[in-house]
Structures are given as structure tokens and as C-alpha cells.
């Protein structure tokens, strides 16, 4: 009963269906499951509700699934980098639910941790609070937000072992660990797959219990969205 699959297509086999909810890790193009997104596009599954902090760019990341109109709805905090997204949204071909970034992160964590609702100050008095339950604690007003889960979560890690234990690298961690906990099935792609026992047990970010399928990333592009550099002094 190995969790290790041969490639992204193989790893998504049998778990996709039209009108499903999918969580996809990453912040901008940093730490996105590149192989799994492409396999998702190639599967042709349609009507996806996608929960992801951003929507990729036109020709990369979740933008690939917007090009093919496979996404029906996005739940995101920021989608500014995607022209095709803008076109589909303005043409009302795409539903969009904006969540404050921290609320989105916490909703996903809550979903994975069996918490159906929680209260937050974020968004009180704004459009985000409309229609939500308000409650006072110690004289301050908070709104209730609900937990989120997905039929499938796709995440990207740096290293993984055959039990599905994962370690992320630098800011490529972002939404990936919570999403791994909130998928009914979680599929991970990793840059390096090691034997069980090679990862330090004190240093595992995502425990294998949350990961049902794992593959090695192939041909990762790791595209940089905004290359910013400085010149060496005296250079």
C-alpha cells in the first residue's frame, strides 16, 4: 500500500470528478505544485472550485486551468496578476470569493483540524462581514468564519519520505501545510523523495498522516514573478 506514485497523472487517477473542490498550495508562483496543476489540466476535469491564495499568471500555475475554463469558482485573497482571470470575471464566466489572506489561511487550518467555525476581528465593518454572524467578546466585535475542506488538496514540498512526511523550504511553505490537512485526499509533489527515516522526526512540517499520495516533481520551472536584485557595491 505504497503512497508513492509514478507521476502526476498517476497520482490524480481516480480521485478527480467534475464540480469538485480543489485546494492548491503556493503564494503567487512560489511553492506551487507545478506538475499536479498540469496533470489536473490534462485530466480535463471541469467545474472546479479552486481554493488558492492566488490564481497564477496567464500561462503558469492555476492560470493554465483558467485558460481551459476548467475553473468555475476561485476562493482567493489576491488575483491581481492574471489578465485572463480578469476577462473571465468581468464577463461573469467565473465566480470569485475574496477572503482576507489570514482568514483564508485560518479557514483552511480550521477545516483540517475539525473546527467548523471561529471568530476573527479581520474584516469587521467591511464588505467581508456582510451576512456573517457577529459576536462580541470583551466588548469587541468579531465575525464568524467557517472551516474549509477540499475533495483534493495538491501541495508542493521540498523533501518528502515514503510515509508522506514533508519538509518545505523557505517561503515556499506558505499555504501548503494547512492545505495538506484539509484535503479529503492530499497529493504532494516533492523535489526530493527520501527513504523513510532520513528526515529528522523533530523537523517534519507535514506529518505523513495528511498525505495519501506522493510524487517526485519533474522539470520544475520555479518561475520568478518579480525578479528584484541589487548591485554589489563597487561592482
Amino acid at each position: 500500500m505504497s503512497k508513492v506514485y509514478s507521476d502526476a497523472k498517476d497520482a490524480l487517477d481516480g480521485i478527480l470528478f467534475d464540480n469538485m473542490t480543489i485546494m492548491a498550495g503556493g503564494f503567487g508562483l512560489c511553492g506551487i505544485p507545478e506538475n499536479l496543476i498540469i496533470a489536473l489540466r490534462d485530466s480535463g476535469v471541469s467545474g472546479i472550485s479552486a481554493i488558492s491564495n492566488n490564481a497564477g499568471v496567464d500561462d503558469f500555475g492555476l492560470g493554465l486551468l483558467l485558460q481551459t475554463r476548467q475553473i468555475k469558482k476561485m476562493v482567493s485573497s489576491y488575483v491581481g496578476e492574471n489578465k485572463e482571470f480578469e476577462r473571465q470575471y468581468l464577463a461573469e464566466e467565473l465566480e470569485l470569493e475574496f477572503n482576507p489572506q489570514g482568514t483564508l489561511a485560518e479557514r483552511i487550518r480550521a477545516g483540517g483540524a475539525g473546527i467548523p467555525g471561529f471568530y476573527t476581528k479581520t474584516g469587521v465593518g467591511t464588505l467581508v462581514a456582510e451576512g456573517k454572524e457577529h459576536k462580541d467578546f470583551d466588548g469587541e466585535t468579531y465575525i464568524m468564519e467557517t472551516g474549509l475542506t477540499a475533495d483534493v488538496s495538491i501541495v508542493k514540498a521540498w523533501k518528502g519520505d515514503k510515509e508522506g512526511n514533508l519538509i518545505f523550504r523557505k517561503t515556499a511553505r506558505n499555504f501548503n501545510p494547512m492545505m495538506a490537512t484539509a484535503g479529503k485526499v492530499t497529493v504532494a509533489e516533492v523535489e526530493e523523495l527520501v527513504e523513510t527515516g532520513e528526515l529528522d522526526p523533530d523537523q517534519i512540517h507535514t506529518m505523513g498522516i495528511f498525505v495519501q499520495r506522493i510524487i517526485i516533481s519533474k522539470g520544475l520551472e520555479k518561475r520568478i514573478e518579480q525578479l528584484t536584485t541589487r548591485q554589489r557595491e563597487g561592482a
Partner: protein, 213 residues
């Protein structure tokens, strides 16, 4: 002789206190990092999951796994730690960040902030702005005092959709510096060449003026 963007960033940097944990928004607030006073050591948080943000990398050394919340490539420092988005916003929402400096489209005299959405235009999203203004201990806005058409941005009541209610503690604009608290707004500093009357004529919000200005 109103303040330039650099002047505003330099003035904002005076709000940094040794030992502070600080989140800087995109745009002019990012410039504040260039003006941190000598002897003041602050740790910059990036809400995508990093404490201890370093400067841009040297050419050829950018790491795609290492970006800030503006998606720019950056570097790490000795003190740097990485964490998940939920831990990052736990930190923000839980009141552990001392200071957030960010931009604004409108600020009301009670400190309401609008900086994420213009109805009728394509909305990019609020990102982490609503969480930051709700959770961070002190919120400083840096903005041009007036919009391009000359209209006031510091007004009685925001007309744009809000980012947060009663969240702004200070405005630094090309006109000067305003404090906002339960007693209302107070002009506490003027940019060179700006008179109190100039400030009033360019502002819709009611504000007091501090003594000896």
C-alpha cells in the same frame, strides 16, 4: 516643498522603535526599510511566512523559494525564521506585530481605512491588508495627501469600501503627520513650506492642530 515619497518614508522610519517587529506594505512603505535610523534594530515580517526579511539578492543570486508578500525576490538574515501562512497570520491577528506601515486610498477622521477596492474597477483582492489593520498594534498610513484629481483622501467618512474600521493610528502624507485616536485627528507636524491653512484646504476631515506648530 511638500514631502517627497522618500521624505515620507524617512519620516515613517522615525516610528520604528528598537526591537520592534514590523510589517511593511507594498509601495512607498517598502522604502521605509532604507531609512531605518542608526541604533534601531527592527525585524521585518513578511506575511507570506517570514520573520527577518533581508534586502534584495545580488544579481544572479535570486532564489525562487524566497519572496516577500509583494512577490519580490529577497534574502534571509541571521535571525530569519520561516513559517506557514496560518502561523504568520496567527502572529498578525494575535497582536504580536508592533507596527504596520501601509498605503491608503482614503482615511476617515476616525481612522477608517479604504485601500483595496474601487467599485466598478476590477478588484485584485485585499490580500493580507484586512488582517494587518485588524491585528497589528499600531497602523501607520503613508499616502499622497490628495488624489491625482486633487480631491481629498483624508475625509470625514470613507466613500470607498473599507479595509478596516478605526484602525489607522497615524497618517504621514506629503502635507505632514496626523495622529488619530479616540479624541479625533490631530495635525502634529507640517512638511516644509506647508501651512496649517494649506493642510486644512487640502483635507476634508476635521482635525485639531497640536500646540506650537
Amino acid at each position: 516643498m511638500a514631502w517627497t515619497r522618500e521624505d515620507m518614508a524617512r519620516r515613517a522610519a522615525k516610528e520604528l522603535v528598537n526591537g520592534y517587529y514590523v510589517n511593511l506594505g507594498i509601495g512607498i512603505p517598502t522604502l521605509v526599510a532604507n531609512f531605518i535610523p542608526d541604533g534601531v534594530d527592527v525585524t521585518l515580517q513578511s506575511e507570506n511566512g517570514m520573520l527577518g526579511m533581508g534586502p534584495f539578492p545580488y544579481e544572479g543570486e535570486a532564489d525562487p523559494d524566497l519572496i516577500n508578500a509583494g512577490k519580490q525576490t529577497i534574502t534571509e538574515l541571521n535571525r530569519t525564521s520561516y513559517f506557514s501562512s496560518s502561523d504568520s497570520f496567527g502572529m498578525i491577528r494575535g497582536g504580536h506585530i508592533d507596527l504596520s506601515i501601509l498605503g491608503a486610498m482614503q482615511v476617515s477622521e476616525e481612522g477608517d481605512l479604504a485601500n483595496w477596492m474601487i467599485p466598478g474597477k476590477m478588484v485584485k483582492g485585499m490580500g493580507g491588508a484586512m488582517d494587518l489593520v485588524a491585528g497589528v498594534k499600531k497602523v501607520v498610513v503613508i499616502m499622497d495627501h490628495n488624489a491625482r484629481d486633487g480631491s481629498a483622501k483624508f475625509i470625514k467618512k470613507c466613500t470607498l469600501p473599507l479595509t478596516g474600521v478605526r484602525v489607522v493610528d497615524m497618517i504621514i502624507s506629503d502635507v505632514g503627520v496626523f495622529l488619530i485616536n479616540d479624541d479625533g485627528a490631530t495635525l502634529i507636524e507640517l512638511a516644509p513650506g506647508i501651512s496649517i491653512d494649506d493642510a486644512r484646504s487640502r483635507t476634508e476631515a476635521e482635525f485639531n492642530v497640536t500646540k506650537n506648530l
